[in-house]
């Protein structure tokens, strides 16, 4: 009897807590859902990232009074970096009419790309997701500026060349790509293969299965190949293990370069001193020495509204969360200025804002991010913009930029990207649009 009573109680509670979807009429604020992973295996990267988002949106509300006078309302949804939870989050929050989503996982991005034009919600996968979606003629609703995985990989090869003394010196060099065996990790492979053929370096691709703790066999192979450079596309615990293995095998750490998801504080702490010299790609500067951080302390943290501790500002992923939030805000602002809005932009308008985003040096200075990020310009054809990458290095205490801004090899990447876009769009039955007709 007791059990039945309990069951009936449970049923009653289920009915009582039936989520009220659709009943959301907010026309005074912009609703932005945040897909976060504060728990699960990838939480060490997910937490600072989510905090960065929170902090910047709060800053815009506190310092600027919102975007063009319209306040931002955010709601977090926990995905644990799992695709099915991400889909659940999306379906639950899309009823609140968000102009955009940041999926924050390549797997979830792949789920949302087909839904974007149907639901009319912009998908902004900043530096992740499907590279081919950078062709805006086929994928009008998907944006991946400031850069794609392919551009990043080409920038890495250029960096290696600059260290070796020129593109012609790449011939005969041995480069190993250690990657997470998932759509995310595989992304860089086609570009690296093309460049290997062109410039004559020997490329070896070594896959590491999710989640990445098991790398014994991988590093035995690395030892046998004895590569000149290692490119690492890892994520979460895989990075920590890889850095640790490299350090313990005595690999030259300054010849190992992570992609921009393989170069944060949490990736190097496990290897302690051994990680010193490890490099990674990035598209923004680390550290808390920028004006935006002073603003953040003044307007948010001193009011007790900060998402994390003050001394954790400037972490790579906190900065990246802020950059991502900033790009969202600037795109929305572009739309609101164009359509002279004092209300949230409609979905088509928000999309226009993303497509016509022109982030100038001057604007970066206004928002306190000068030097933290390069200016960029998105166009109808090019949804990855003209962003550039840099290399940062771990000096044992903090990450520091150690290279100039590197222009990706666009004449190699772009044609491949366009071909891939046709391929991907065909699967979804899309038609191409004519960018000269867009205003």
């Amino acid at each position: 009897m007791k059990v039945r009573g309990f069951l009936i109680g449970l049923l009653a509670m289920t009915v009582a807590a039936w989520p009220v979807a659709g009943a959301w009429a907010q026309d005074k604020t912009i609703f932005i859902p945040l897909f976060v992973y504060r728990t699960g295996p990838y939480a060490p990267s997910g937490i600072p990232n989510a905090n960065g988002f929170q902090d910047y949106f709060n800053l815009v509300n506190e310092r600027d009074g919102g975007v063009n006078g319209v306040k931002l309302v955010i709601e977090e949804c926990e995905t644990q970096y799992k695709t099915d939870l991400g889909v659940e989050c999306y379906e639950r929050l899309k009823g609140k009419k968000p102009p955009l989503v940041n999926p924050y996982s390549t797997g979830i991005t792949y789920q949302l790309i087909p839904k974007a034009p149907v639901d009319k919600i912009v998908v902004h996968s900043m530096g992740y997701g499907m590279t081919a979606s950078a062709d805006g003629r086929w994928f009008p609703w998907v944006f991946n500026f400031p850069m794609t995985y392919w551009s990043q990989a080409s920038a890495f090869v250029k960096y290696v060349a600059s260290q070796e003394g020129g593109m012609d010196k790449l011939k005969g060099k041995k480069i190993v790509h250690i990657f997470h065996n998932s759509p995310y990790g595989k992304e860089a492979n086609p570009t690296l293969e093309t460049l290997a053929k062109q410039h004559g370096f020997e490329l070896t691709l070594l896959a590491v299965d999710h989640p990445g703790q098991e790398q014994g066999a991988t590093w035995l192979q690395v030892r046998r190949i004895n590569p000149d450079w290692i490119y690492l596309s890892g994520w979460g615990v895989m990075n920590q293990v890889a850095v640790k293995e490299a350090a313990s095998k005595g690999f030259k750490m300054d010849h190992m370069v992570g992609n921009w998801w393989s170069g944060s504080e949490s990736d190097v702490v496990a290897a302690a001193d051994g990680a010193r010299g490890f490099k990674s790609m990035t598209f923004h500067a680390p550290g808390a020495g920028f004006k935006v951080h002073q603003d953040l302390v003044k307007h948010v943290y001193d009011k007790g509204k900060g998402a994390t501790k003050k001394d954790l500002l400037g972490e790579v992923y906190h900065n990246r969360g802020m950059i991502n939030a900033m790009l969202n805000v600037e795109a929305l602002r572009t739309a609101m200025l164009k359509f002279k809005l004092k209300t949230p932009p409609a979905s088509e308008q928000a999309r226009w804002g993303f497509e016509n985003l022109n982030l100038t040096e001057q604007r970066l200075e206004q928002i306190g991010m000068k030097g933290m990020m390069r200016p960029l310009k998105v166009t109808c054809e090019n949804h990855e913009s003209n962003g550039m990458a840099a290399v940062q290095q771990w000096d044992g205490k903090q990450w520091k930029i150690v290279s100039d801004w590197i222009e990706p090899i666009r004449d190699v990447v772009r044609p491949k990207l366009e071909a891939a876009a046709v391929e991907e769009a065909k699967k979804l039955g899309y038609t191409v649009r004519d960018c000269s007709k867009e205003k």
Partner: protein, 358 residues
Amino acid sequence: MIYREAGQFKTTYAADQAIFPIAQDRVVVALAIAAAFLVPPLAGSEYWLQAVLIPLLIYSLAAIGLNLLTGYAGQLSLGTGGFMAVGAYAAFKITTAFPQVNIIVVFLVSGLFAAGVGLLFGIPSLRIKGFYLAVATLAAQFFLVWLFNKVAWFSNYASSGTITAPPRTVFGVMVTGPEATAPARYVVALTLVVLFALAAKNLVRGRIGRSWMAIRDRDIAAEIIGVRPLRTKLLAFGISSFYCGVAGAELVFLYLGSAETLAFDITISFLILFMVIIGGLGSILGSFLGAAFIVLVPIFLTNAPHALGLSVPVALQKQVELMIFGGLILFFLIVEPHGLARLWQIAKEKLRLWPFPH
């Protein structure tokens, strides 16, 4: 009182052996099926259909599949995720190679592929039993997922290795791909589940099901009375994998839309095994109850604080959710080790006597 059978006489063997011998049951089940077909597509929001009910139906189908193998035939399997992956990738390959073939046919054929693979991995079951068989089927899980990840042919050489469900129609209605509406997907999933559940129910009541149960209860005795272990066990593996394969194809085509091999990793095998154990081993109804428990309770726990107006940090909420969920699993297993289906059975027995228990 309501559940009284007085006056219901069975005059034929067929009536006596019907799936639902009690008239009230027949009415309730018929109403429930009708309601399932009518109410959600007309009244349910897209969130409920797409994020809750469709995965529920698909997992129910996979749970029925595993229940046939583990609950009825007694063969413990951890290869469910692998067999689902076979179904999903087979469906993807078939429908991209032959776009004109009806997608339902594609689902069924990909189920056959999964059945073939299941037969292959079922062969060791003749020699290996119990936990050892679980380890052997674990090999299927890891091998199949590795295979689909390794060989680019399976994903049509997509650089990311992701398979995407192309748009396909049934009777002129779009059921897969991004343009397909949630009600259309739901109706397809529901139709398949209803048909397959009915087929499974009849299967386990007949000669095949009885031979499975004989093998499960004592294989030597079963062999002595003339049940051939190899054929019986392999049949269980084949049919179970067929169900799992169809469920895997549906998972990609009706629910996720696109997937990578990670969607079929070992956690899904465990998840479906938990559904079967919590729902009730050896019960078709239990497969549905188990799937409902595993799918609905976390979603309920996620939404509960919101509905009550509490603002809890998401990380804390997720952790509390996992703790409560784990606690509930323990609670149910302690209170009723035979699963939710057994609870329902007890409730039914009591209802039949109520209000005059003796």
